[in-house]
């Protein structure tokens, strides 16, 4: 797999505003997830959550290229996609705590946040469970003819599920505007992907008539560039694409996965954190290129920190749904 585009090879110049917005969204995801971990550790969060830390450049690079009425589907590791598509942290935290003010009135929780206002069709706790939904949204988009696209995020573990190939085939036959984004963070739970996936990942798209590329998922500008191309193809009626983003999750499979040495080394984790951190890489590039000063950037980080703190407090202070809400929303 080759990296098709990188920072230096950026195709069209991106406005400073956009660049800083990408930086901010990446900070938001990082800090959101740190708060989630904190909530878990303080036993304030029911159940578990799967953190996106380390993978921020993927969600942000892609969602920056989308319009608000474009669709995304997300996964069990979905907070990053939500934030990148424009969701508010306060209502996300409320959802994670099972509160009435949450995006799903507390009924969904971490793995099911959905938000029509930002085109988020929902996270999904079934691996590959949203492949059909995203393809169906692209089907609607094609019928509506307004140029919308759908992005289907999934981990490389989802490549084990046959339904992914069924819908890729359909999308290719019908030229549907859908981009299948595989976040290859090397592990499916506690197993390295090389133990569970044979053959070549990119061929898994091309074999079904879906043009496929790989990109360095730590490089937000590279992700953004290739995303723009794929989205343009989709909007132009030229059909689906498959994008493999090579990335890494810094923490455990879920917040409770603390002892990881039986499946990956501390050294490996350290290497990614030190030399391939997407926020560090973007910071370096922004400052080196003169797009922003270190102060500007740390100012943004601080703003985000304040926002997250307020958002968590809002969620903690929010009430649970009334018990009689339990039987509502089963049928529309």
């Amino acid at each position: 797999m080759s990296t098709v585009a990188n920072q230096t090879g950026a195709e069209a110049p991106v406005k400073k505003e956009k660049l800083l917005e990408m930086y901010r969204r990446m900070q938001m995801i990082r800090q959101f997830e740190e708060q989630v971990n904190e909530l878990y550790t303080r036993a304030l969060m029911p159940g578990l959550a799967h953190l996106y830390i380390g993978e921020e450049a993927v969600a942000v690079g892609i969602c920056e290229a989308l319009n608000v009425d474009d669709y995304i589907t997300s996964t069990h590791r979905g907070h990053g996609h939500c934030v990148a598509k424009g969701a508010s942290p306060d209502r996300m935290f409320a959802e994670l705590l099972g509160k009435e003010a949450g995006y799903c009135k507390g009924k969904g929780g971490s793995m099911h946040i959905a938000d029509p206002a930002t085109g988020n069709l929902g996270a999904n706790a079934i691996v590959a469970g949203s492949a059909g939904i995203a393809t169906g949204a692209a089907f609607s988009a094609k019928h509506a003819g307004k140029g919308q696209v759908a992005v289907c995020f999934f981990g490389e573990g989802a490549l084990g599920q046959g339904v992914v190939y069924e819908v890729m085939n359909l999308a290719a036959l019908w030229k549907l505007p859908v981009i299948y984004v595989c976040e290859n963070n090397l592990y499916t739970e506690y197993t390295h992907f090389s133990e569970t996936l044979a053959g070549d990942l990119l061929q898994r798209g091309t074999a079904f008539g879906v043009p496929s590329e790989a990109v360095d998922g730590q490089d937000v500008m590279a992700v953004n560039n290739v995303a723009k191309r794929m989205i343009a193809r989709a909007r132009a009626g030229e059909g689906p694409s498959f994008l493999v983003c090579n990335t890494y999750r810094y923490t455990g499979h879920h917040v409770g996965d603390i002892n990881r040495e039986y499946y990956r080394s501390k050294q490996e984790e350290q290497e990614w954190k030190t030399s391939r951190d997407p926020i560090k890489l973007l910071t370096k590039w922004l400052t080196e290129q003169g797009h922003a000063s270190t102060e500007e950037l740390s100012g943004i980080a601080q703003e985000v920190a304040a926002e997250m703190k307020a958002a968590v407090e809002f969620a903690i202070a929010s009430p649970y749904p009334a018990i009689d809400k339990v039987a509502q929303d089963v049928y529309a």
Partner: protein, 337 residues
Amino acid sequence: MPESTTKTASATRELTFAQAVNEALAEEMRRDKRVCILGEDVAEAGTPFKVLSGLVQEFGVERVIDTPISEAGFTGVGVGAAMTGMRPVVDIMFGDFLTLTMDQMVNQAAKVHYMSGGKWKVPMVLRTTLGASRRSAAQHSQSLHAWFSHVPGLKVVMPSTPWDAKGLLKSAIRDENPVVFFEDKMMYKLKGPVPAEEYTIPFGVADVKREGEDITLVATSSMVQVALEAAELLEAVGISAEVIDPRTMWPLDEKALIESAKKTSRVMVIDEGYERYGVTAEIASVIAEGAFFDLEAPVKRLGAMHVPIPFSPPLEDVTVPTGPGVFAAAKKLCGKS
């Protein structure tokens, strides 16, 4: 447009069950551009049962869409399309292939509305078939509606006449929820009256197909025909049987079933799915509880035998309820042997 739950209408014609289904689809597709059909060989071929003949000619291949043999995939596309503005009618040729759609229907379609706190809706219809006795063997003869009836978030419809098929299918297409619609393959050629004017039939309203005093026969789908046959035989021996058809498994018209049971004091429930852990169990339980003090005998259930449907005709014929079988059991239940 009138919601018609009874068999009175200003003008009726005789249509086959297949024609009634076809007409419901055509009318709804004319009325609402968002309605489209997805399935294997639904377009030119009009399905192997020819139920959809003519639709592609009127609505084109953009709305009557042939799919690959990817039941999970195209059902999933139906779910996503329904969430985003279409009203897809997904066609699963044989009910046996529902096995392949379970994740899309149960983990996705049924739960999207609830999990999103009521924000996304899934107005789709999954049309499929049920029923044995076509000498099609174990993988082409199952009646798996019990599974879907068990799942909150889904509605389950089982029409027994052309009239009901048309009215219920139109309601299904207009419903804001995922609806699983079961058609008995053996009924496609069954003829019956169908109103000429527009009508729909609401869900959750049982229909008394024949009134009677001595015993209630609750029957679903093609078992309504079986029950009506049994009722004729019972009449000949002086037993007056009421035949009641719940029409939708969910929502279930518990009240009507219990009322009928209270009136007759004896009940038999007949369904073509497996009897064990099947829909007869739920219906019998509801009645046994609701009419407890009025029942003169235990509620009797009759479903398919607990065997994979065999191919061999003489074997297959004994696995599903028949008119004479229902007659004999009902007679016994009424204390006459």
